[in-house]
Symmetry: D2
């Protein structure tokens, strides 16, 4: 379903071309100062930074309407509901896609799953636009986690760390690029994460892989670590606080944070919607079709992912910190 979290619970709703994207945050402690302005910085990071160079020209103000859960500038302890208006909507481009699904998108799967009743415009509820709600929840989570530092950055785009030329070239060619984004959380206590199913890795992977376009996640050395010997992979323990000489494990042992930096990376696939013709099928006739996408799309969605990944990390950590009693139920 569209909810996640045990104590800090995030619910997302809304479709790309509907009136609003919505997020409900239940379980946030009462008394946390919160205003619409608090969301501006992270939502600006999520928005299209460079319309000519890889990100969609769709522009939204993303200033939330706080419907509930805040009174006199502080959270009330009741569920927070935030709305983000979808203002810059151009739905005409999507008419064709109802019966000729775009390869690599949810058009086909959503149509089958929901019997064709899904709102297909702009990807509907499957649009990356829905992540505005996750980023907003992340803003609240980060406030609860301060001064813990959660910071994500782009490691590579199209396989390269220096990717500006690649990006320009891909945009010019009507193509798209994927990327790898890394998130590091520092200042964590030892002991976050629950045995087996609710390991910190499981929970973060759950949220991170829910983000449209994320196809992989690795913690610490990840796949490279699978090629190391144990003698190289093991992180020697240096002191009673658990500080280690290296951090191949990415800050997690046995699914539980060990006090070192929590480190993970995700793979973001190249956007499926490109200007080049796409091979698909007409679902009504069964005939092959060549589809030309004319909507507004990101040539590289990964560019916008650092703040989304930080949010995925923050909502999980806020939940685990509440579980450990390390965030008070009443904020002072």
């Amino acid at each position: 379903m569209n909810s996640f979290g045990r104590l800090f619970r995030v619910t997302l709703a809304g479709e790309s071309h509907g009136p609003d994207i919505a997020v409900v945050v239940d379980g946030c402690p009462a008394g946390l100062p919160l205003a619409a302005e608090d969301f501006a910085a992270d939502l600006a990071r999520r928005r299209s930074a460079r319309p000519g160079a890889g990100t969609t020209p769709r522009v939204e103000s993303d200033r939330p309407q706080i419907v509930s859960g805040v009174y006199n500038g502080r959270t009330t302890g009741s569920p927070l509901l935030l709305l983000f208006a979808n203002q810059d909507v151009a739905s005409d481009a999507y008419k064709e896609m109802k019966t000729t699904p775009r390869p690599g998108q949810a058009d086909f799967t959503a149509r089958v799953k929901f019997g064709g009743f899904n709102d297909h415009r702009g990807g509907g509820h499957f649009s990356g636009r829905v992540t505005v709600g996750l980023v907003a929840a992340g803003v609240i989570a980060k406030k609860l986690l301060a001064p813990m530092a959660i910071a994500a950055r782009i490691l590579e785009i199209g396989g390269a760390a220096d990717y500006e030329a690649l990006l320009a070239e891909a945009v010019a060619a009507g193509d798209s690029l994927g990327g790898v984004v890394e998130c590091v959380a520092g200042g964590l206590p030892v002991g976050l994460g629950e045995p087996f199913f609710d390991s910190v890795e499981s929970l973060i992977a759950h949220v991170a892989l829910a983000i449209p376009a994320v196809k992989a996640i690795e913690f610490g050395d990840g796949f490279a670590g699978a090629r190391l010997r144990g003698s190289a992979f093991n992180d020697a323990i240096l002191d009673r606080a658990g500080r280690t000489a290296t951090n191949h494990a990415g800050g997690v042992n046995g699914g539980i944070t060990n006090g070192n930096d929590l480190v993970f990376r995700v793979a973001v696939r190249p956007p499926a919607s490109i200007a080049q013709p796409l091979q698909t099928v007409d679902l009504e006739t069964g005939e092959p079709r060549e589809l030309r996408i004319v909507g507004r799309h990101d040539a590289c969605i990964a560019l916008r992912f650092p703040v989304i990944l930080e949010a995925a990390c923050a909502v999980v950590l806020a939940d685990l910190m509440l579980l450990e009693g390390r965030i008070p139920r009443i904020w002072n």
Copy 2:
């Protein structure tokens, strides 16, 4: 917590050196034929296949005691409880580790999280031994999913597809190796997976990353796909059933199965317990310590992972198939 699943719900309990490992499966349809013998094949695959060449000499019969949920050879619709006796237990080796935590294990994190009250013998509840319960749940799930084909295999050990020599060498050197294991599920319907948080990738990643030693997961092309252009990554749709010419997406679009093979891989870290001396700290004195592990351990736990990964996949798919009404509540 130690439970996962919405309709097909798996709960794990037990510690490595306690009397039994236990699994509760709630939500299994009534009427499914089930006997202790059904678990033999998969549990044999999970056990130490080659004591001299990479897997632990600990040997357990792993024949389950079916405590509840089966009557006259068929499931009753009530929760199934299976017990697996821990018979070949050697706890003496673990005395030292209570205060000198093994690097790369849960010794330190579990001690802090549980105030030293955790059962540290053999890793306690953090032991890979607990996966016997997951494999058992997977056996039940596979029966519900038949004739769907779920098959995992080792792709590489120590970075190589041909790894026999590497393995022998590592064992001789008192070292350990990681590996990469791939799982493919074929015969899936279109439409498994829920919007956003319960994408099929999120759910499988959640369970897979709960398995001790798994540090990464990728679907379809995964990290390699992040280096492709959209024109190369997109899977052209061939027909109204959604069959695609390629499968870079690993059988999932928008978090929902598209009817092609579901493909994912996990990275398994090299076991932390090796014969070479390990650098750690005495938690009572704070002094550095060189630890020599004398317990019985796997030199390469990844060798035993295919069946565990299949189980992780099967329990998620059984849950999603029940959600879609594609597995009947009463089995005939």
Copy 3:
């Protein structure tokens, strides 16, 4: 938390004097025709029918804004978000109550629980106004359950079946009355309800007792049945469909519906806010205070409960019918 349901999941948000009351319904099948008009009848039943005779003069139009989950007049399969504007708000009356809690209300408990940060105006999130969201969810559930018949009615007000005079007298005296409301659901299949914790009685009681002012619930003969002998209480089974000669059990055996009418009653306490002076304490000084309530209140909230109780019943039954696969995931 503010969510309930496993497959048909209802989340409530909003405060009495905030901009809107909100309800999210996740898990509703796609394809169900749904429009703002569908909610009118039930929400009118919930509203103040008789301003002079027992119900509050506060008037709201209660026409929902459908923010998400509906496209072209049918549900999309994505979460539904409905907003109900709070228009007729008079907050001045509540200033005093921040520090002098009204007896019998959540003023004191909410203040302590949330450290005084709760929105106390009109009871905030503890207001009966929040039930507008539950009634709306009930409207959707009833559409899914049709032609199942769910009907509630007032059994007694102030202890009497003929209560008009009592009501007028209580209003005149500045006092309030409680009541007993009965709900009957007919046309249910045998088999709804899960073993032990998710018995149909448990689930309905859970939701019913969440409704502000409900203090008791009984199924079938309830408390009176505890005074019968088994020979009188037992419902003789008449045929293979499970039809019984009597219905002392209220349509439930072993927590599972038996195909006869599901029957339950709730006790609704008399509203705490009355025109007569109330004894309380000034939380800042600790001094006793006599409080005079000047807001607009119901003299008998039970009058508005039949439709709320139907909603509580309907959301539970929709969830259980989905669990049994008796409501299709795609509506036709």
Copy 4:
């Protein structure tokens, strides 16, 4: 499903005539002293106290086998699994009931729900025997809640407070009696319970109505309160701690504990299995049948309910106290 609780999570498994009844308690803090002896007193209270006078002659030792979660006499923080052997089993008496369902039992509903695959012997998973697991979870919860006082008592049997003669008469007549049991919890903090769906009344009602034979629950004045006027029902607040002059509300306002005694009562129906002939139907032929029950049964199950009700109350309060951070995650 067979699980309940958010942080202190109880899962029940087992059938009346299977080898064991099992309970898993997940989320119990580490370090709590726990031994098999701790369960003796409460389980003795649950057992048949008076074989000749209203309770079944079936006798079980009810000494638990602690399979997991305890090491060196203290909880480990991992899930607790306790087994209670079913030793005194007489299944022959149940052969007939497979096709001629006992009125008032789950025989018919379970058969339909599970397609006849349910273990019908002794009621299977629907037996009151399963409450041994709930009582055991309650023992653990009570230890966490100490010195909070949770005490239940019988208010009436067969409608009378002085019921010894009634009971003897009913046993002699081959009949059965119901009863009313009251539970009071004292020493609670203000603030337990969550807004709306997880009100303390909702949670307790959920668990209480899961107990076989419970048909009603009321808090405070309950149904009698619905007949009072607000001026009589309101509990005047006496001091800043929230102490009230009366306790009509049963210690709960707005779903949240107010610091006064939490008071609730349940109605327990008279056992359906009586020595008098019962009217039912042969499910195979459809012919009416007169059934004579020859198994061992309670003439008044309510006699055994005080400790079961305490357990229902305790597991909910333990969960809520953990949620509020009022029970430490590590016990000292």
